[in-house]
Amino acid sequence: MGALDCFVAESVIGPATSGRTRWLPAMTRLCKAAPLVRNVLSPLILITAVLNGLMTGAVYALVALGLTLIYGVLHIINFAHGAILSAALFAAFLAYQKLGLDPYLAAFLIAPAFFAFGYALQRFVIGPASHGDDRNMLLVTLGLAVIIENALLYTFRADTRTIDLAYGFKSIDIGFTFLSLPRLISFAAVFVVALALWLIMALTDTGKAIRAVAKEKLGAELAGIDVAHIYAMTFGLGTACVAIAACLLIPIYYVNPKAGDAFVLVAFTIVVLGGMGSVPGAVIGGLVIGVVESLAGFYFGESLGQVGIFLIFIVVLLVRPRGLFGATA
């Protein structure tokens, strides 16, 4: 998550270099000179770190939303989630590079394409290959992750790429600090997507069928619901969430065949924290983890900030495996 952290730094240090506020440069210098006092002296930097964490967390939440949806219905952890995110990042990258499509517009193209991709994966690969056994499904998704990641490596090589957008580094002055524009957009977009997902689940027949299968698979099947189709629809929706997350990420993040990996364990953590299968849990969990990561990275340095996430993950798994909002495991 190095790139995202550097944006925390950018928005924190940014005002100092531009010199637009009187007190921040002095404070920043103080922080640099005496790292130990900065936690006492810098409430505003702290607020900035929290705001940045919230915005990072929103993107995490979107990745986690796809994961939790799939878990809630299929009861498996999709280990291919990170690889699919990498693939979607490449799709957004290519759409910009080859077609000149703005990532935010490309989302309307890439999300349906990835929905179809996810549907096909579940319907024709994961479903038939796993014989209905949970452990086999885990392994098949792991196998898919290995295939997708290495297919990307094979095609694009290990180079890290970024795209340059006019608004990539734009930030907005909100009085006491600066917020990066693309991150603000992604923050808003996440709530739109979550709302849309909620509406699909609440109002459409497919949504009802998904909820029915999640609750009682056999009963749903007896009521005439095509479970294989609903599984695939769910997997497709989860994959589409990842695709949208990729389009929101690409303006501020980089892409390489392993780019999605960084998000996948974070997304697992969020899903476990929020409760496996819980949509509000994923959103709130994502925001919490974003803030935790931002603050831990701020106080302890980047690599140990990551350890913080994993420790939360392990503690939640061990102490309260059903998470904050989850039903009994």
Binding site: L139, G143, V272, P321
Partner: protein, 331 residues
């Protein structure tokens, strides 16, 4: 003793290889394949016989590797003692993770996740802690003498790893025939039913985890002696977690020879892909992934399981129905 005959035959046949083949390339290939087989056999004890699918066996492989290396590099401890200490440390890490995970009664996906997370935490810690050489890694001093566990000839390394694999095969065979092994299989098949019959599921799973961790740690210790180098990406990286579970699943999960067959097949496929397509990054692993999915799709009990099935099928067709017992028990 009859049960150990196949192991004796297979090991004797493999031991004869250096007499016939002197090519270092071939021997190196076999050493690496056997090392993966050993790590995979460790996974197989817990995953195959116990049904607990770990996605983080790197935690044990890496601990074995690091302890062996650190004791030699920083404390000048003899390599053989370091080797034993590495195995013990790996087993201890297995005990800690197992206690935490099984106390919280984590199963299936949750168990996979928590093992993965522990391996990642160890990887990140190892990549920043000075004693593990942080980002640079640890280089074990070259000292080619038998008492420092370093050999000029690859053939001797090959025989050492073959001996370790032989021990792991015997462990699996003993497991199949012992009371503990039967408990473990009972827990795999139905934990609640096993507990209702008086099996202490927690103790059985924990025991399997410690044993499993020790075997995989031995592979890590061997890695250090063979390559004389370790860093956080090698020791605790996802690659070894994946290879450790891939080999027994492809070979035959919960069978004595599964990991060995799987490792030889997977490694041969990887080398074959290199021969065909040159050393293109990604291609070998792509084949791994595809083979994994195909095996689960068409031979869910692995290659050994498929062979047993095929034999049972033929037996049913041509022989007395008595051999069906074997088919049922054989998995």
């Amino acid at each position: 003793m009859k049960a150990f005959l196949p192991i004796a035959i297979v090991v004797a046949a493999l031991a004869a290889v250096p007499l016939l083949v002197h090519s270092n390339v071939v021997l190196n290939f076999l050493v690496v394949a056997l090392m993966i087989a050993l790590a995979g056999q460790g996974w197989n004890i817990l995953g195959g016989y116990g049904g607990q699918y770990s996605f983080g066996h790197a935690a044990f492989f890496g601990t074995g590797a690091y302890v062996t290396a650190i004791l030699q590099v920083h404390y000048g401890v003899n390599a053989w003692i370091g080797f034993v200490a590495g195995i013990a440390a790996g087993a201890a890490v297995g005990g800690v993770i197992g206690t935490l995970a099984f106390r919280a009664s984590l199963r299936s996906s949750y168990f996979a996740l928590v093992t993965l997370a522990f391996a990642e935490v160890l990887r990140i810690l190892a990549s920043v802690t000075p004693v593990t050489g942080a980002g640079v890694g640890l280089l074990v001093k070259l000292d080619v003498r038998a008492q420092s566990f370093q050999f000029q000839s690859r053939a001797i390394f090959y025989l050492v790893i073959l001996a370790l694999v032989a021990v792991s095969l015997v462990i699996a065979q003993l497991l199949e025939r012992s009371r503990f092994g039967v408990w473990l299989i009972a827990v795999r098949e139905n934990e609640d039913a096993a507990m209702a019959l008086g099996v202490d599921a927690f103790a059985v799973k924990l025991g399997a985890m410690v044993l499993s961790a020790a075997v995989t740690a031995a592979a890590g210790c061997f890695y250090v002696q063979y390559f004389l180098f370790v860093d956080s990406g090698i020791a605790y990286g996802g690659w070894i977690s994946i290879e450790a579970l891939l080999t027994p699943i492809i070979g035959g999960v919960g069978t004595v020879f599964g990991a060995l067959v799987g490792a030889l097949v997977v490694k041969s496929l990887g080398e074959g892909a290199k021969l065909v397509a040159g050393d293109v990054p990604g291609l070998g692993l792509m084949i791994y992934g595809a083979v994994l999915i195909l095996v689960i799709r068409f031979a869910p009990r692995g290659l050994v399981g498929a062979l047993v099935d095929a034999r049972g099928h033929l037996a049913r067709r041509f022989m007395a129905p008595r051999s069906r017992v074997r088919e049922v028990v054989g998995g």
